[in-house]
Amino acid sequence: MNERIFGVFSFIIACGYIYVASLTQLSFISDPVGPKTFPYIVGSIFAISSLFLIFKPEFDPKWPSLYKFLEIIFVTIILIVYAYSLPVVGFVISTLIATFILSWRLGAKTTEAFIFSVVVSFGIYFLFRTILGLSLAKGIWGF
Protein backbone atom coordinates (compact mmCIF):
# COMPACT_ATOMS: atom_id res chain seq x y z
CA MET A 1 0.00 0.00 0.00
CA ASN A 2 1.46 3.33 -0.91
CA GLU A 3 0.52 6.83 0.10
CA ARG A 4 -2.02 7.09 -2.69
CA ILE A 5 -4.04 4.08 -1.55
CA PHE A 6 -3.93 5.31 2.03
CA GLY A 7 -5.18 8.67 0.77
CA VAL A 8 -8.16 6.96 -0.87
CA PHE A 9 -8.90 5.08 2.35
CA SER A 10 -8.73 8.15 4.51
CA PHE A 11 -10.86 10.09 2.01
CA ILE A 12 -13.56 7.43 2.32
CA ILE A 13 -13.26 7.50 6.11
CA ALA A 14 -13.56 11.30 6.10
CA CYS A 15 -16.71 11.14 3.96
CA GLY A 16 -18.14 8.38 6.16
CA TYR A 17 -17.37 10.50 9.21
CA ILE A 18 -19.26 13.48 7.77
CA TYR A 19 -22.19 11.22 6.88
CA VAL A 20 -22.40 9.68 10.37
CA ALA A 21 -22.10 13.16 11.91
CA SER A 22 -25.04 14.31 9.78
CA LEU A 23 -27.19 11.58 11.36
CA THR A 24 -26.83 13.19 14.82
CA GLN A 25 -30.27 13.71 16.33
CA LEU A 26 -30.81 17.33 17.34
CA SER A 27 -32.27 18.03 20.74
CA PHE A 28 -34.63 20.86 21.66
CA ILE A 29 -31.88 22.80 23.41
CA SER A 30 -29.32 24.09 21.01
CA ASP A 31 -26.73 26.79 20.53
CA PRO A 32 -26.25 28.75 17.30
CA VAL A 33 -23.63 26.26 16.11
CA GLY A 34 -25.13 22.95 17.08
CA PRO A 35 -23.39 19.60 17.47
CA LYS A 36 -22.90 18.99 13.75
CA THR A 37 -20.87 21.99 12.58
CA PHE A 38 -17.54 21.17 14.21
CA PRO A 39 -17.51 17.60 12.86
CA TYR A 40 -18.42 18.99 9.42
CA ILE A 41 -15.41 21.35 9.49
CA VAL A 42 -13.08 18.62 10.76
CA GLY A 43 -14.38 16.10 8.23
CA SER A 44 -14.02 18.51 5.31
CA ILE A 45 -10.41 19.41 6.10
CA PHE A 46 -9.76 15.70 6.69
CA ALA A 47 -11.08 14.92 3.20
CA ILE A 48 -9.12 17.75 1.56
CA SER A 49 -5.84 16.70 3.15
CA SER A 50 -6.51 13.12 1.97
CA LEU A 51 -6.83 14.49 -1.57
CA PHE A 52 -3.32 15.94 -1.23
CA LEU A 53 -1.98 12.48 -0.43
CA ILE A 54 -3.81 11.05 -3.44
CA PHE A 55 -2.63 13.66 -5.93
CA LYS A 56 0.74 14.61 -4.50
CA PRO A 57 2.28 11.53 -2.88
CA GLU A 58 5.89 12.12 -1.82
CA PHE A 59 6.87 9.17 0.29
CA ASP A 60 7.29 5.51 -0.50
CA PRO A 61 6.78 3.47 2.65
CA LYS A 62 8.74 0.30 3.30
CA TRP A 63 6.47 -2.56 4.27
CA PRO A 64 7.51 -5.62 6.24
CA SER A 65 7.71 -9.03 4.60
CA LEU A 66 4.62 -11.23 4.63
CA TYR A 67 6.14 -13.30 7.43
CA LYS A 68 6.71 -10.26 9.65
CA PHE A 69 3.25 -9.06 8.80
CA LEU A 70 1.70 -12.34 9.92
CA GLU A 71 3.74 -12.07 13.09
CA ILE A 72 2.29 -8.63 13.83
CA ILE A 73 -1.21 -10.05 13.31
CA PHE A 74 -0.35 -12.95 15.61
CA VAL A 75 0.83 -10.59 18.35
CA THR A 76 -2.30 -8.47 17.91
CA ILE A 77 -4.47 -11.55 18.43
CA ILE A 78 -2.47 -12.46 21.55
CA LEU A 79 -3.02 -8.96 22.94
CA ILE A 80 -6.76 -9.10 22.20
CA VAL A 81 -7.09 -12.51 23.84
CA TYR A 82 -5.12 -11.14 26.79
CA ALA A 83 -7.48 -8.15 27.09
CA TYR A 84 -10.51 -10.46 27.29
CA SER A 85 -8.95 -13.11 29.49
CA LEU A 86 -7.95 -10.61 32.21
CA PRO A 87 -11.37 -10.40 33.90
CA VAL A 88 -11.86 -14.17 33.55
CA VAL A 89 -8.66 -15.90 34.66
CA GLY A 90 -7.16 -12.93 36.51
CA PHE A 91 -3.99 -10.91 36.18
CA VAL A 92 -1.28 -13.35 37.21
CA ILE A 93 -2.13 -16.25 34.92
CA SER A 94 -3.04 -14.23 31.83
CA THR A 95 0.02 -11.99 32.18
CA LEU A 96 2.25 -15.01 32.63
CA ILE A 97 1.02 -16.53 29.39
CA ALA A 98 0.99 -13.27 27.40
CA THR A 99 4.50 -12.27 28.52
CA PHE A 100 5.79 -15.73 27.71
CA ILE A 101 4.42 -15.58 24.16
CA LEU A 102 5.58 -12.00 23.57
CA SER A 103 9.16 -12.53 24.71
CA TRP A 104 9.30 -15.84 22.87
CA ARG A 105 8.15 -14.12 19.66
CA LEU A 106 10.77 -11.43 20.21
CA GLY A 107 13.44 -14.09 20.20
CA ALA A 108 13.88 -15.40 23.75
CA LYS A 109 14.57 -19.12 24.29
CA THR A 110 11.74 -21.18 25.84
CA THR A 111 13.26 -21.55 29.30
CA GLU A 112 14.45 -17.94 29.27
CA ALA A 113 10.98 -16.74 28.30
CA PHE A 114 9.36 -18.89 30.98
CA ILE A 115 11.55 -17.59 33.81
CA PHE A 116 11.13 -14.05 32.54
CA SER A 117 7.33 -14.30 32.37
CA VAL A 118 7.13 -15.66 35.93
CA VAL A 119 9.31 -12.77 37.14
CA VAL A 120 7.26 -10.17 35.26
CA SER A 121 3.78 -11.34 36.22
CA PHE A 122 4.58 -11.93 39.90
CA GLY A 123 6.84 -8.86 39.95
CA ILE A 124 4.15 -6.52 38.61
CA TYR A 125 1.54 -8.14 40.85
CA PHE A 126 3.72 -7.67 43.90
CA LEU A 127 4.80 -4.12 43.01
CA PHE A 128 1.43 -2.75 41.94
CA ARG A 129 -1.00 -4.79 44.03
CA THR A 130 0.89 -5.40 47.25
CA ILE A 131 3.09 -2.32 47.53
CA LEU A 132 1.17 0.35 45.62
CA GLY A 133 -2.33 -1.03 46.20
CA LEU A 134 -3.47 -0.63 42.59
CA SER A 135 -6.47 -2.66 41.50
CA LEU A 136 -5.45 -5.32 39.01
CA ALA A 137 -7.74 -7.71 37.20
CA LYS A 138 -9.04 -10.24 39.73
CA GLY A 139 -10.64 -13.02 37.69
CA ILE A 140 -12.63 -15.92 39.11
CA TRP A 141 -9.90 -17.04 41.50
CA GLY A 142 -9.18 -13.61 42.87
CA PHE A 143 -5.60 -12.98 41.67
Binding site: A14, P35, F59, P61, P64, F128
Partner: protein
Protein backbone atom coordinates in the same frame (compact mmCIF):
# COMPACT_ATOMS: atom_id res chain seq x y z
CA UNK B 1 10.12 39.34 45.15
CA UNK B 2 6.65 37.94 44.65
CA UNK B 3 8.11 35.19 42.50
CA UNK B 4 10.57 34.22 45.23
CA UNK B 5 7.75 33.90 47.75
CA UNK B 6 5.77 31.72 45.37
CA UNK B 7 8.87 29.61 44.83
CA UNK B 8 9.37 29.17 48.58
CA UNK B 9 5.76 28.00 48.84
CA UNK B 10 6.56 25.66 45.97
CA UNK B 11 9.45 24.15 47.90
CA UNK B 12 7.03 23.50 50.77
CA UNK B 13 4.88 21.48 48.38
CA UNK B 14 7.79 19.66 46.76
CA UNK B 15 9.69 18.79 49.92
CA UNK B 16 7.45 16.13 51.34
CA UNK B 17 8.70 12.59 51.65
CA UNK B 18 6.22 11.42 49.03
CA UNK B 19 7.11 14.07 46.45
CA UNK B 20 10.86 13.70 46.90
CA UNK B 21 10.49 9.95 46.41
CA UNK B 22 8.37 10.51 43.31
CA UNK B 23 10.95 12.91 41.89
CA UNK B 24 13.72 10.36 42.52
CA UNK B 25 11.74 7.56 40.87
CA UNK B 26 10.78 9.86 37.99
CA UNK B 27 14.37 10.95 37.34
CA UNK B 28 15.59 7.38 37.41
CA UNK B 29 12.86 6.02 35.11
CA UNK B 30 13.14 9.07 32.85
CA UNK B 31 16.85 8.58 32.32
CA UNK B 32 16.17 4.94 31.42
CA UNK B 33 13.40 5.87 28.96
CA UNK B 34 15.66 8.47 27.42
CA UNK B 35 18.63 6.17 27.15
CA UNK B 36 16.80 3.27 25.52
CA UNK B 37 16.65 3.74 21.76
CA UNK B 38 13.06 3.67 20.57
CA UNK B 39 11.60 5.01 23.80
CA UNK B 40 11.60 8.72 24.56
CA UNK B 41 10.03 11.22 26.94
CA UNK B 42 6.58 10.98 25.36
CA UNK B 43 6.49 7.18 25.69
CA UNK B 44 7.71 7.31 29.26
CA UNK B 45 5.18 9.90 30.36
CA UNK B 46 2.40 8.15 28.42
CA UNK B 47 2.98 4.82 30.15
CA UNK B 48 3.12 6.40 33.60
CA UNK B 49 0.05 8.68 33.41
CA UNK B 50 -2.60 5.98 33.80
CA UNK B 51 -0.61 4.50 36.66
CA UNK B 52 -0.23 7.77 38.56
CA UNK B 53 -3.93 8.32 37.99
CA UNK B 54 -4.89 4.89 39.31
CA UNK B 55 -2.63 5.37 42.30
CA UNK B 56 -4.76 8.35 43.27
CA UNK B 57 -1.86 10.81 43.39
CA UNK B 58 -2.93 14.44 43.56
CA UNK B 59 -2.21 16.82 40.70
CA UNK B 60 0.96 18.33 42.17
CA UNK B 61 2.50 14.93 42.93
CA UNK B 62 1.60 13.47 39.52
CA UNK B 63 3.04 16.51 37.81
CA UNK B 64 6.27 16.19 39.82
CA UNK B 65 6.60 12.51 38.90
CA UNK B 66 5.90 13.04 35.21
CA UNK B 67 7.96 16.20 34.78
CA UNK B 68 10.90 14.42 36.40
CA UNK B 69 10.47 11.66 33.83
CA UNK B 70 10.38 14.33 31.10
CA UNK B 71 13.55 16.06 32.27
CA UNK B 72 15.21 12.72 32.96
CA UNK B 73 14.58 11.52 29.42
CA UNK B 74 16.24 14.67 28.11
CA UNK B 75 19.36 13.78 30.09
CA UNK B 76 19.21 10.09 29.24
CA UNK B 77 18.87 10.52 25.48
CA UNK B 78 22.50 11.49 25.17
CA UNK B 79 23.84 8.23 26.64
CA UNK B 80 23.08 6.02 23.66
CA UNK B 81 23.84 8.86 21.23
CA UNK B 82 27.36 9.10 22.56
CA UNK B 83 28.08 5.44 23.21
CA UNK B 84 26.43 3.56 20.35
CA UNK B 85 25.70 6.31 17.84
CA UNK B 86 21.94 5.68 18.05
CA UNK B 87 19.97 8.59 19.49
CA UNK B 88 18.02 7.49 22.56
CA UNK B 89 15.27 9.89 21.56
CA UNK B 90 14.70 12.39 18.79
CA UNK B 91 16.22 15.53 20.38
CA UNK B 92 19.42 13.60 21.08
CA UNK B 93 20.06 13.12 17.37
CA UNK B 94 22.37 16.13 17.12
CA UNK B 95 24.44 14.80 20.02
CA UNK B 96 25.56 11.83 17.92
CA UNK B 97 27.40 14.16 15.52
CA UNK B 98 30.26 14.94 17.87
CA UNK B 99 29.48 12.54 20.70
CA UNK B 100 30.17 9.32 18.85
CA UNK B 101 33.46 10.57 17.36
CA UNK B 102 34.53 11.38 20.91
CA UNK B 103 33.74 7.79 21.92
CA UNK B 104 35.80 6.48 19.03
CA UNK B 105 38.69 8.53 20.35
CA UNK B 106 38.28 6.86 23.74
CA UNK B 107 36.76 9.94 25.35
CA UNK B 108 33.27 8.54 26.01
CA UNK B 109 33.43 9.17 29.75
CA UNK B 110 34.43 12.78 29.21
CA UNK B 111 31.67 13.28 26.64
CA UNK B 112 29.10 11.93 29.09
CA UNK B 113 30.32 14.20 31.87
CA UNK B 114 30.43 17.31 29.67
CA UNK B 115 26.95 16.65 28.29
CA UNK B 116 25.72 15.96 31.81
CA UNK B 117 26.98 19.37 32.89
CA UNK B 118 25.52 21.10 29.83
CA UNK B 119 22.18 19.33 30.28
CA UNK B 120 22.13 20.55 33.85
CA UNK B 121 23.02 24.08 32.84
CA UNK B 122 20.40 24.19 30.07
CA UNK B 123 17.70 22.78 32.31
CA UNK B 124 18.43 25.21 35.15
CA UNK B 125 18.38 28.21 32.77
CA UNK B 126 15.06 26.98 31.38
CA UNK B 127 13.52 26.39 34.79
CA UNK B 128 14.48 29.93 35.87
CA UNK B 129 13.08 31.20 32.56
CA UNK B 130 9.87 29.27 33.14
CA UNK B 131 9.57 30.77 36.60
CA UNK B 132 9.74 34.35 35.33
CA UNK B 133 8.16 34.11 31.88
CA UNK B 134 5.12 31.94 32.62
CA UNK B 135 3.48 34.43 35.05
CA UNK B 136 3.99 37.22 32.48
CA UNK B 137 2.35 35.16 29.77
CA UNK B 138 -0.51 34.47 32.15
CA UNK B 139 -1.17 38.20 32.36
CA UNK B 140 -1.57 38.30 28.59
CA UNK B 141 -3.70 35.18 28.63
CA UNK B 142 -6.17 36.88 30.95
CA UNK B 143 -7.19 39.04 27.99
CA UNK B 144 -8.22 35.97 26.03
CA UNK B 145 -11.89 35.15 25.44
CA UNK B 146 -13.32 32.11 23.68
CA UNK B 147 -12.60 33.55 20.21
CA UNK B 148 -8.92 34.10 21.06
CA UNK B 149 -8.65 30.67 22.61
CA UNK B 150 -10.12 29.06 19.55
CA UNK B 151 -7.56 30.91 17.40
CA UNK B 152 -4.81 29.78 19.78
CA UNK B 153 -5.80 26.13 19.39
CA UNK B 154 -5.82 26.48 15.61
CA UNK B 155 -2.35 28.03 15.91
CA UNK B 156 -1.10 25.11 17.98
CA UNK B 157 -2.07 22.72 15.19
CA UNK B 158 -0.92 24.92 12.32
CA UNK B 159 2.56 25.39 13.74
CA UNK B 160 3.07 21.77 14.82
CA UNK B 161 6.34 20.24 13.78
CA UNK B 162 8.01 23.62 13.59
CA UNK B 163 10.00 24.79 10.62
CA UNK B 164 11.43 21.39 9.84
CA UNK B 165 8.12 19.64 9.17
CA UNK B 166 8.20 18.51 5.57
CA UNK B 167 4.72 17.46 4.65
CA UNK B 168 1.96 19.75 5.87
CA UNK B 169 -0.83 17.67 4.32
CA UNK B 170 0.14 14.77 6.57
CA UNK B 171 0.27 16.95 9.69
CA UNK B 172 -3.17 18.36 8.86
CA UNK B 173 -4.56 14.90 8.17
CA UNK B 174 -3.20 13.61 11.48
CA UNK B 175 -4.64 16.60 13.38
CA UNK B 176 -8.08 16.06 11.86
CA UNK B 177 -7.95 12.38 12.70
CA UNK B 178 -7.33 13.29 16.33
CA UNK B 179 -10.06 15.94 16.36
CA UNK B 180 -12.47 13.45 14.77
CA UNK B 181 -11.75 11.00 17.59
CA UNK B 182 -12.49 13.74 20.14
CA UNK B 183 -15.97 14.39 18.70
CA UNK B 184 -17.14 10.84 19.42
CA UNK B 185 -19.53 10.61 22.36
CA UNK B 186 -22.32 12.63 23.90
CA UNK B 187 -22.13 16.29 22.89
CA UNK B 188 -21.36 18.26 26.03
CA UNK B 189 -23.48 21.28 25.14
CA UNK B 190 -26.74 19.75 23.95
CA UNK B 191 -26.55 16.28 25.46
CA UNK B 192 -27.17 14.35 22.27
CA UNK B 193 -25.14 11.25 21.42
CA UNK B 194 -22.89 11.88 18.46
CA UNK B 195 -20.92 9.49 16.26
CA UNK B 196 -21.36 6.77 18.83
CA UNK B 197 -22.90 4.16 16.47
CA UNK B 198 -25.42 3.35 19.17
CA UNK B 199 -22.66 1.69 21.19
CA UNK B 200 -22.87 2.50 24.91
CA UNK B 201 -19.09 2.25 25.24
CA UNK B 202 -18.74 5.29 23.00
CA UNK B 203 -21.24 7.51 24.86
CA UNK B 204 -18.56 8.84 27.20
CA UNK B 205 -16.27 9.43 24.29
CA UNK B 206 -12.86 7.88 23.81
CA UNK B 207 -10.58 8.67 26.74
CA UNK B 208 -7.50 10.37 25.32
CA UNK B 209 -5.32 8.36 27.67
CA UNK B 210 -6.26 5.29 25.63
CA UNK B 211 -5.23 7.06 22.42
CA UNK B 212 -1.97 8.20 24.00
CA UNK B 213 -0.93 4.85 25.46
CA UNK B 214 -2.00 3.03 22.29
CA UNK B 215 -0.06 5.30 19.99
CA UNK B 216 3.04 5.88 22.10
CA UNK B 217 3.44 2.53 23.85
CA UNK B 218 1.57 -0.25 22.05
CA UNK B 219 2.64 0.84 18.55
CA UNK B 220 6.23 0.62 19.79
CA UNK B 221 5.68 -3.13 20.38
CA UNK B 222 4.68 -3.65 16.76
CA UNK B 223 7.69 -1.67 15.56
CA UNK B 224 9.96 -3.89 17.64
CA UNK B 225 8.30 -7.07 16.37
CA UNK B 226 8.87 -5.85 12.84
CA UNK B 227 12.49 -4.83 13.37
CA UNK B 228 13.68 -7.75 15.47
CA UNK B 229 16.78 -9.53 14.21
CA UNK B 230 17.51 -6.65 11.84
CA UNK B 231 18.58 -4.14 14.49
CA UNK B 232 22.32 -4.00 14.68
CA UNK B 233 23.77 -4.93 18.02
CA UNK B 234 27.27 -3.90 17.08
CA UNK B 235 28.95 -1.07 18.94
CA UNK B 236 28.08 -2.69 22.25
CA UNK B 237 31.77 -2.90 23.04
CA UNK B 238 31.80 0.85 23.52
CA UNK B 239 29.73 0.53 26.63
CA UNK B 240 32.85 0.43 28.76
CA UNK B 241 33.78 3.86 30.02
CA UNK B 242 37.20 4.64 31.38
CA UNK B 243 37.96 8.19 32.32
CA UNK B 244 35.04 10.23 33.57
CA UNK B 245 36.48 13.56 34.63
CA UNK B 246 37.47 15.99 31.91
CA UNK B 247 40.18 18.59 32.43
CA UNK B 248 39.09 21.84 34.03
CA UNK B 249 40.26 23.73 30.95
CA UNK B 250 37.79 21.76 28.81
CA UNK B 251 34.93 22.65 31.14
CA UNK B 252 35.90 26.32 30.96
CA UNK B 253 36.05 26.05 27.19
CA UNK B 254 32.41 24.94 26.95
CA UNK B 255 30.98 27.57 29.31
CA UNK B 256 30.25 30.17 26.58
CA UNK B 257 28.74 27.38 24.46
CA UNK B 258 26.43 26.33 27.27
CA UNK B 259 25.26 29.89 27.86
CA UNK B 260 24.52 30.58 24.18
CA UNK B 261 22.87 27.22 23.59
CA UNK B 262 20.71 27.36 26.71
CA UNK B 263 19.20 30.70 25.74
CA UNK B 264 18.64 29.64 22.14
CA UNK B 265 17.13 26.36 23.28
CA UNK B 266 14.84 28.02 25.78
CA UNK B 267 13.39 30.40 23.21
CA UNK B 268 13.04 27.63 20.66
CA UNK B 269 11.08 25.71 23.28
CA UNK B 270 8.73 28.59 24.11
CA UNK B 271 7.86 29.17 20.44
CA UNK B 272 4.70 27.41 19.33
CA UNK B 273 5.21 24.08 17.68
CA UNK B 274 8.95 23.90 18.20
CA UNK B 275 9.95 21.58 21.01
CA UNK B 276 13.24 20.07 22.04
CA UNK B 277 14.34 18.70 18.67
CA UNK B 278 14.41 22.17 17.17
CA UNK B 279 16.19 23.49 20.26
CA UNK B 280 19.10 21.08 19.88
CA UNK B 281 19.21 21.63 16.12
CA UNK B 282 19.41 25.42 16.38
CA UNK B 283 21.91 25.28 19.23
CA UNK B 284 24.22 22.95 17.30
CA UNK B 285 24.07 24.80 13.97
CA UNK B 286 24.69 28.20 15.52
CA UNK B 287 27.49 26.90 17.72
CA UNK B 288 29.09 25.37 14.65
CA UNK B 289 28.88 28.71 12.82
CA UNK B 290 30.51 30.52 15.74
CA UNK B 291 33.12 28.04 16.95
CA UNK B 292 34.05 25.83 14.02
CA UNK B 293 37.20 27.74 13.13
CA UNK B 294 39.58 24.81 12.88
CA UNK B 295 37.04 22.46 11.31
CA UNK B 296 36.84 20.30 14.43
CA UNK B 297 33.04 19.91 14.46
CA UNK B 298 31.75 16.49 13.55
CA UNK B 299 35.09 15.02 14.56
CA UNK B 300 34.58 15.02 18.31
CA UNK B 301 34.58 18.65 19.40
CA UNK B 302 33.55 19.14 23.04
CA UNK B 303 31.48 22.17 22.14
CA UNK B 304 29.63 20.04 19.60
CA UNK B 305 28.26 17.81 22.35
CA UNK B 306 27.68 20.58 24.86
CA UNK B 307 25.61 22.73 22.49
CA UNK B 308 22.82 20.30 21.52
CA UNK B 309 22.49 18.95 25.07
CA UNK B 310 22.21 22.39 26.67
CA UNK B 311 19.85 23.30 23.81
CA UNK B 312 17.47 20.37 24.13
CA UNK B 313 17.25 20.48 27.90
CA UNK B 314 16.57 24.20 27.81
CA UNK B 315 13.95 23.72 25.11
CA UNK B 316 12.25 21.03 27.18
CA UNK B 317 11.83 23.53 30.00
CA UNK B 318 10.81 26.27 27.59
CA UNK B 319 8.07 24.08 26.14
CA UNK B 320 6.44 23.97 29.57
CA UNK B 321 5.82 27.75 29.41
CA UNK B 322 3.00 27.80 26.81
CA UNK B 323 1.62 24.51 28.15
CA UNK B 324 1.23 25.80 31.72
CA UNK B 325 0.34 29.43 31.08
CA UNK B 326 -1.89 29.11 28.01
CA UNK B 327 -2.92 25.48 28.11
CA UNK B 328 -1.58 25.05 24.59
CA UNK B 329 1.15 22.45 24.18
CA UNK B 330 3.81 22.75 21.52
CA UNK B 331 5.27 19.25 21.56
CA UNK B 332 4.25 15.66 22.01
CA UNK B 333 5.45 15.33 25.56
CA UNK B 334 3.91 18.60 26.77
CA UNK B 335 0.65 17.51 25.11
CA UNK B 336 0.77 14.33 27.15
CA UNK B 337 1.49 16.30 30.34
CA UNK B 338 -1.49 18.50 29.51
CA UNK B 339 -3.62 15.38 29.14
CA UNK B 340 -2.58 14.38 32.64
CA UNK B 341 -3.71 17.71 34.10
CA UNK B 342 -7.00 17.52 32.24
CA UNK B 343 -7.63 14.01 33.54
CA UNK B 344 -7.33 15.52 37.02
CA UNK B 345 -9.95 18.13 36.05
CA UNK B 346 -7.39 20.92 36.05
CA UNK B 347 -7.39 23.21 33.03
CA UNK B 348 -4.00 24.81 32.46
CA UNK B 349 -3.96 28.48 31.65
CA UNK B 350 -4.40 31.59 33.77
CA UNK B 351 -6.80 29.80 36.10
CA UNK B 352 -4.19 27.20 36.95
CA UNK B 353 -1.92 29.90 38.37
CA UNK B 354 -4.80 31.40 40.33
CA UNK B 355 -6.62 28.31 41.57
CA UNK B 356 -3.84 25.75 41.86
CA UNK B 357 -0.63 27.67 42.61
CA UNK B 358 0.57 24.61 44.51
CA UNK B 359 0.67 22.63 41.25
CA UNK B 360 2.62 25.28 39.33
CA UNK B 361 5.09 26.29 42.00
CA UNK B 362 5.43 22.81 43.43
CA UNK B 363 6.31 21.69 39.93
CA UNK B 364 8.89 24.46 39.42
CA UNK B 365 10.49 23.76 42.79
CA UNK B 366 10.53 20.04 42.01
CA UNK B 367 12.20 20.72 38.67
CA UNK B 368 15.07 22.53 40.39
CA UNK B 369 15.41 19.65 42.80
CA UNK B 370 15.12 17.05 40.01
CA UNK B 371 17.99 18.66 38.14
CA UNK B 372 20.33 18.10 41.03
CA UNK B 373 19.25 14.48 41.29
CA UNK B 374 19.74 14.08 37.56
CA UNK B 375 23.21 15.59 37.72
CA UNK B 376 24.18 12.95 40.27
CA UNK B 377 22.47 10.13 38.39
CA UNK B 378 24.01 11.15 35.10
CA UNK B 379 27.62 11.78 36.00
CA UNK B 380 28.89 9.65 38.88
CA UNK B 381 26.22 6.97 38.43
CA UNK B 382 26.03 6.95 34.65
CA UNK B 383 27.43 3.40 34.51
CA UNK B 384 24.17 1.96 35.83
CA UNK B 385 22.36 3.31 32.80
CA UNK B 386 24.94 2.03 30.34
CA UNK B 387 24.22 -1.43 31.76
CA UNK B 388 20.51 -0.94 31.04
CA UNK B 389 21.34 -0.30 27.40
CA UNK B 390 22.33 -3.95 27.27
CA UNK B 391 18.77 -5.04 28.10
CA UNK B 392 17.53 -6.64 24.88
CA UNK B 393 14.12 -5.71 23.39
CA UNK B 394 12.84 -9.26 23.87
CA UNK B 395 12.65 -8.50 27.59
CA UNK B 396 12.05 -4.78 27.41
CA UNK B 397 9.01 -4.73 25.15
CA UNK B 398 6.86 -7.26 27.04
CA UNK B 399 7.39 -5.14 30.17
CA UNK B 400 6.27 -2.00 28.31
CA UNK B 401 3.22 -3.89 27.01
CA UNK B 402 2.19 -5.27 30.38
CA UNK B 403 2.56 -1.95 32.16
CA UNK B 404 0.45 -0.25 29.47
CA UNK B 405 -2.27 -2.84 30.01
CA UNK B 406 -2.09 -2.51 33.79
CA UNK B 407 -2.40 1.27 33.52
CA UNK B 408 -5.39 1.42 31.18
CA UNK B 409 -7.15 -1.48 32.90
CA UNK B 410 -6.60 0.27 36.22
CA UNK B 411 -8.57 3.32 35.06
CA UNK B 412 -11.77 1.66 33.95
CA UNK B 413 -11.44 -2.10 34.43
CA UNK B 414 -12.92 -2.59 30.99
CA UNK B 415 -11.65 -4.99 28.35
CA UNK B 416 -13.26 -2.81 25.72
CA UNK B 417 -10.85 0.02 26.56
CA UNK B 418 -7.93 -2.38 26.20
CA UNK B 419 -9.28 -3.39 22.80
CA UNK B 420 -9.41 0.28 21.78
CA UNK B 421 -5.85 0.71 23.03
CA UNK B 422 -4.68 -2.18 20.82
CA UNK B 423 -6.59 -0.62 17.91
CA UNK B 424 -4.81 2.71 18.40
CA UNK B 425 -1.53 0.83 18.70
CA UNK B 426 -2.08 -0.75 15.28
CA UNK B 427 -3.25 2.56 13.83
CA UNK B 428 -0.15 4.25 15.25
CA UNK B 429 2.04 1.59 13.65
CA UNK B 430 0.33 2.10 10.29
CA UNK B 431 0.67 5.88 10.47
CA UNK B 432 4.34 5.62 11.39
CA UNK B 433 4.97 3.35 8.42
CA UNK B 434 3.43 6.04 6.22
CA UNK B 435 5.54 8.77 7.85
CA UNK B 436 2.43 10.44 9.26
CA UNK B 437 3.24 12.12 12.60
CA UNK B 438 1.46 10.80 15.70
CA UNK B 439 1.76 13.95 17.85
CA UNK B 440 -1.04 15.83 15.98
CA UNK B 441 -3.39 12.86 16.45
CA UNK B 442 -2.70 12.87 20.17
CA UNK B 443 -3.08 16.64 20.39
CA UNK B 444 -6.35 16.50 18.46
CA UNK B 445 -7.83 13.92 20.77
CA UNK B 446 -6.74 15.92 23.83
CA UNK B 447 -7.66 19.42 22.67
CA UNK B 448 -10.67 18.66 20.46
CA UNK B 449 -13.34 19.18 23.11
CA UNK B 450 -11.81 22.42 24.40
CA UNK B 451 -11.45 23.70 20.88
CA UNK B 452 -15.06 22.97 19.99
CA UNK B 453 -16.36 24.37 23.27
CA UNK B 454 -14.50 27.65 22.72
CA UNK B 455 -15.72 27.91 19.15
CA UNK B 456 -19.31 27.38 20.20
CA UNK B 457 -19.03 29.76 23.14
CA UNK B 458 -17.63 32.44 20.85
CA UNK B 459 -20.45 31.97 18.40
CA UNK B 460 -23.04 31.96 21.16
CA UNK B 461 -21.71 35.35 22.29
CA UNK B 462 -21.90 36.69 18.74
CA UNK B 463 -25.22 34.95 18.09
CA UNK B 464 -23.86 32.92 15.22
CA UNK B 465 -21.78 35.60 13.52
CA UNK B 466 -18.55 33.90 12.36
CA UNK B 467 -16.78 37.23 11.78
CA UNK B 468 -16.59 37.54 15.57
CA UNK B 469 -13.66 35.12 15.53
CA UNK B 470 -11.56 37.71 13.72
CA UNK B 471 -12.64 40.87 15.51
CA UNK B 472 -10.37 41.54 18.48
CA UNK B 473 -6.78 42.75 18.00
CA UNK B 474 -5.38 39.83 19.99
CA UNK B 475 -7.29 37.36 17.82
CA UNK B 476 -6.03 38.98 14.62
CA UNK B 477 -2.42 38.76 15.83
CA UNK B 478 -2.88 35.08 16.66
CA UNK B 479 -4.42 34.40 13.24
CA UNK B 480 -1.49 36.14 11.54
CA UNK B 481 1.03 34.01 13.50
CA UNK B 482 -1.05 30.97 12.56
CA UNK B 483 -0.87 31.74 8.86
CA UNK B 484 2.85 32.59 8.94
CA UNK B 485 3.57 29.50 11.04
CA UNK B 486 1.71 27.35 8.55
CA UNK B 487 3.07 28.85 5.34
CA UNK B 488 6.67 29.57 6.33
CA UNK B 489 7.76 25.91 6.64
CA UNK B 490 6.42 25.27 3.13
CA UNK B 491 8.93 27.84 1.87
CA UNK B 492 11.99 27.31 4.05
CA UNK B 493 11.21 23.84 5.46
CA UNK B 494 12.79 21.95 2.57
CA UNK B 495 16.05 23.81 2.99
CA UNK B 496 16.32 23.08 6.70
CA UNK B 497 15.34 19.46 6.13
CA UNK B 498 18.06 18.95 3.54
CA UNK B 499 20.54 20.58 5.89
CA UNK B 500 19.64 18.09 8.64
CA UNK B 501 19.91 15.21 6.18
CA UNK B 502 23.30 16.46 5.10
CA UNK B 503 24.50 16.53 8.70
CA UNK B 504 23.07 13.06 9.28
CA UNK B 505 24.66 11.49 6.22
CA UNK B 506 28.02 13.09 6.95
CA UNK B 507 28.01 11.25 10.19
Amino acid sequence: METINFLLDGFDVAFTVQNITLALIGCFLGTIFGALPGLGPANGVAILIPISFSLGLDAASSMILLASVYYGAMYGGRISSILINIPGDEPALMTTLDGYPMTLKGRAGEALTLTGISSFFGAIVATIGLMFLAPQLVKIALLFGPAEYFALFVMAFATLGGVSSNNKAKTVLASMLGLAVSTIGVDGQTGVPRLSFGNVHFYDGIDFLIVIVGMFAVSEIFIFIENKNTKSTKNKKNLIINKILPKLSVIIKIIPTMIRSSFLGFFAGVLPGAGASLGSFIAYTIEKKISNKNDTFGKGDERGVAAPEAGNNAAAGGALVPMLSLGVPGSGTTAVLLAMLMTMNITPGPLLFKNNPDVVWGLIAALFFANFILLILNIPMVKIFTKILLLPPKFLMPIVAMISFVGIYGISGSSFDLLLMIFFGLLGWLLRKLDIPLVPVIMGSILGNLMETNLRRALTISDGNWAYLFQSKVAIIIWIITIVGFVLPLIIGKRIKSQIDKLKSKN
